[in-house]
């Protein structure tokens, strides 16, 4: 009974993992001289994308219901700006601000979710409005770039390294470099685990899959579809806010143009990770690997040094096409087998 069934959905996840491994291995072979093989290179991918991982978890939940949320990038920018303005202009403490940011996330998600679930407006339209609103509010708070420097706790959190007892190397100056991660990575991985648990072991999580599988059936089976949708959008904005705080800890500033296009990275990561655009299929581990693949691509382009960063976008685009095509093929095969 415990035998893992290799159905199409597992195959998608498997392809994602294999692809990640292959890509990373290729990087290790080609750029071995440039330090790609070091553990820290991998950890840097995690550190650089900690915020995105959390955001993608939220996005995955929304996409599982068959919806979409394109407001996440702007919400992250708003979160960073709230943190920056709060600390630097209003002299507030970062713990209070973090709680405030999370509350804003919940309210923001509740409003969007209400419009989508109960007023039955297209998710794309609603979250586009949310996107403009959040970005607009960011500019209202400040049009300047504000660096966060005066909150000791926040600076300490950002600067803390969690060091590994192994995998170090001695650099050219003869100093031992110990591999490390940051607090944000721990947070992001906890979010992945928590979301996985929520999706698989709670009634709410299973309802998300049911709604995405067949909304009408879910309703006829007696599930509260609207409530499930509402809660999912709240969850997404909440996780996005956690991601926003992580993002802020990485950048240590707030600016209007921050995290532009982050929503697209989150969507493409989820899709590459095996989440079906039509909903009902996917999981957060896939999405984690989706983020890692995107991160690896960027890292490879950076390590190369000669390529402009747009190449990362191009490769991502190609991958995205590949995975969407794959999804379509699987859907066709499934239909044929009926």
């Amino acid at each position: 009974m415990k035998k893992a069934k290799l159905n199409n959905n597992n195959v998608l996840l498997l392809i994602t993992i294999v692809l990640f491994a292959a890509m990373y291995l290729a990087g290790c072979i080609v750029y071995a001289g440039k330090g790609f093989t070091r553990l820290q290179t991998f950890l840097n991918i995690l550190i650089g994308n900690a915020g995105l991982i959390s955001v993608t978890c939220g996005m995955t939940c929304v996409m599982l219901t068959g919806g979409i949320d394109i407001s996440v990038g702007s919400l992250v920018a708003l979160d960073c700006m709230m943190m920056a303005v709060g600390v630097e202009k209003m002299g507030m403490g970062s713990p209070v601000l973090m709680v405030f940011i999370l509350i804003v996330g919940v309210v923001f998600g509740a409003v969007q979710g209400f419009c989508i679930a109960y007023l039955e407006i297209q998710p794309f339209i609603v979250t586009m409005a949310g996107m403009f609103f959040a970005r607009g509010m960011t500019a209202v708070l400040s049009t300047q770039q504000i660096s966060i420097t005066s909150d000791a706790l926040f600076t300490k959190l950002a600067g803390t390294k969690i060091e590994f007892p192994f995998g170090g190397y001695v650099n050219t100056k003869g100093i031992l470099q110990v591999p490390y991660i940051r607090v944000t990575v721990v947070v992001a991985l906890l979010v992945v685990l928590a979301t996985f648990f929520l999706l698989n072991y709670t009634r709410f999580g299973r309802s998300i899959y049911a709604v995405g599988g067949n909304q009408q059936s879910a309703a006829l089976m007696g599930l509260d579809v609207k409530k499930t949708q509402l809660k999912t959008y709240i969850l997404c904005s909440f996780l996005t806010s956690i991601g926003g705080i992580c993002f802020c800890l990485n950048t240590m500033n707030g600016t209007v143009g921050q995290a532009t296009g982050l929503e697209m990275s989150a969507i493409s990561s989820a899709v590459i990770g095996g989440t079906l655009l039509t909903g009902g299929v996917g999981n957060v581990f896939g999405s984690l690997f989706g983020v890692l693949i995107n991160g690896t691509i960027s890292s490879l382009v950076q390590t190369n040094g000669k390529l402009i960063s747009s190449w990362a976008n191009i490769v991502t685009a190609i991958l995205l096409c590949f995975f969407i095509l794959l999804q379509a093929v699987f859907a066709k095969v499934k239909e044929r087998n009926k």
């Binding site: 009974m1 069934k5 159905n7 959905n9 648990f197 698989n200 072991y201 709670t202 009634r203 299973r206 309802s207 899959y209 049911a210 995405g212 599988g213 067949n214 009408q216 059936s217 879910a218 309703a219 006829l220 089976m221 007696g222 599930l223 509260d224 009902g280 299929v281 499934k334």
Partner: protein, 507 residues
Amino acid sequence: MENDVVLKMQGICMTFPGVKALDHAGLTLKKGEIRALMGENGAGKSTIIKCLTGVNKFEAGEIYLDGFEGPITNRDTMDAQSKGISTVYQEVNLCPNLSVAENIYIGRAPLTKFRTVDRKQMNARAKKLMEELDLNIDVTANLENYSLALQQMIAIARAIDMDCKVLILDEPTSSLDDREVEKLFQVMLNLKKKGVGIIFVTHFLEQVYAVCDGITVLRNGQLVGEYTVEELPRVQLVAAMMGKDFDDLASIKPEGGEIGKDAPLVIDAKGLSHAGTIKPFDLEIREGEVVGLTGLLGSGRSELARAIYGADRSQTGTLKVKGKEAHIKEPIDAMNLGMGLLPDDRKAEGIIGDLSVRENIILAMQAKLGALHKIPMAKQIELADQFIEMLQIKTASRETMIRQLSGGNQQKVILARWLATNPDFLILDEPTRGIDIGTKTEIQKLVVKLAGEGKSVIFISSEIEEMLRTCNRMAVLRDGAKVGEISGDEMTQEGVMHAIAGGDSNE
């Protein structure tokens, strides 16, 4: 409410945009009773059920449920479930992306003490439940891996596992085999013993008489009557469903008479079928013959015709057209063999609203010639005018958009479309539905005239009188299978009714 009544619905009205689906319909269900809810396709059976469970909102009427003071309304299925009404809807309503066990328990999954879903217990319970239904399947596999019949059994398992006082089964047997149906009946009889009231919708008449105690008949959204099984033998049931008063049926003599056996065969179908819609059938049609297809709505009349025409590709059997074996893969092949099909759903399949009358008329002919051989405009105009004249199509001009025409005239345009291809064999599926009586007679005359010119016709209609007037012979369908033919002296209303009801008609 009387003591033993568990559910009473009365005066229920409900309108879909443009359709009055229920018009003072009702139903009374007693404790421990299995009640058949009968009616032709579209009579409103599923709709009244959905009104009960809150899926559809009804505009008027009351629902009384045992244990509740005064009329109730359910907000949604969940609400109905909590009041003890458990439903298997007609369309299998499960989630393909979830496991079998989850489909059975979603929304009410057993929880561990940490309030998380107890998968182990859920799977064990699902397994046991399926075993009670003699189904030994892997309940952890996704639902999409299983056949429609199994999915239907899973939906039933889900419904009967809930504690309920009213169980509703809307056509649960449509894709089950005999053994599975037998199993379902056992389960139903068990629940009946426990005092559960069951509403059972089926289109298999014999199933009604096998398990049901009472029958409620709907027609066109109206309540025809509520009967005990003894009160309503098969033929009477069919008459009630079709809206004919069986006792005073006037015999209408067919005009045509039989076609001689020496006339050449135009269609010779042997063992054609289409999975899920029509079981294998044989059918012969001779030159100049009009063959009627009769049966209740949804008995497979259109499906049989579509299998011959290749609109639904037949998976078995052989088809000979004018003595030569034909391999029809798509409708264009059928057209090239000289066939034409006037579909019953002219909105969905027939007319193209934004094209003119002329364009609609030449459409089939153009398709037959291929896009490269454009019919010259002069020819198009000539053809259009000829048919407008011949069929007396009432249109402002031949360039009027067809959607501006009345239904009857649209019907004539589509008829003209097929006549323009000069077919030897025409399938007319409900050609007179929804048109006025005068036009009806014209179309009937036209059919007889075409047959006189040596064309062969399959004529499908719900109106028996009309069929008797136009057909030489009739094939009878029941539950997706051709069950017999009637001709000669049997061609009376009464004869047709008996043939449709089937079995021992005095049951």
